[in-house]
Subunit: 145 residues, 2 copies
């Protein structure tokens, strides 16, 4: 578990998209943009209902996490003014959750952050959530507004 | 080597930032936002002169590539209108280049894409460039403007 500073926390909570990296059995990375929430020191990112290349359990990120729970997330802000660039990087271990109180709570937080999810009914579809417990957090650049 | 469609190529060339994932010897991923150019089927991303946590050869991405050349890049566009989301994902092998014609040509392309680099004098500082030859390209979503 890591403890972000107030500024890191505000940056994490204000950003709308992160990128999640996983690693396969051949030590090759995979990465994709993800929606996420951060709560109680833990990241939650859903397998949502946007069109996908495979059903949830066959998705590359899910197969990678099953074989190797080490993951990383970067949340960054781009600007043409490079004095305003900033990012938060976390690495940690991932679990898949799809039932229980923590699962339902994470869906509620995701729906509160992303109105787009209210129409999707993630929980009703039984779609899993990737839970990431960070063991390292690094930030860089200008995190302030 | 992969051959992007015209639409994939336009998307890659129009985006300003990508995210690069590398993998360390413990099979843990690392990832960071990167500036890049794509030319002749190859990605080039510089170790530029923005403030860094370490000198070039000690940067995590460089140590990871030395131990394991498997890398991935995702280039994506975020929108609150999820009908407009899109990304291009590539995986491939990375090399470090810091001399020669291909190196100097990549610096010229980077300076042409990013006016910010003109002030940095990447080549004069001898800063290396990560060269990525993709062996797989996947795109998703709405790549068109």
């Amino acid at each position: 578990m890591v403890k972000p500073t107030t500024q890191e926390l505000e940056f994490i909570n204000s950003c709308r998209v992160g990128r999640l990296a996983t690693v396969d059995e051949e030590r090759r990375p995979h990465l994709i943009p993800v929606c996420y929430v951060f709560s109680g020191g833990i990241f939650y990112t859903p397998i949502d209902n946007k069109p996908k290349r495979a059903k949830p359990s066959r998705l590359k990120r899910m197969r990678n996490i099953s074989a190797n729970p080490n993951v990383a997330v970067v949340i960054d802000r781009w600007s043409e003014d490079w004095e305003r660039l900033g990012y938060v990087f976390v690495s940690g271990r991932a679990d898949i959750i799809s039932t229980g109180g923590e699962y339902r709570r994470s869906l509620g937080l995701l729906e509160a952050k992303y109105p787009q999810y209210e129409r999707m009914n993630l929980g009703g579809l039984g779609l899993p959530v990737i839970k990431i417990v960070p063991d390292r957090l690094v930030s860089w650049g200008a995190l302030g507004g």
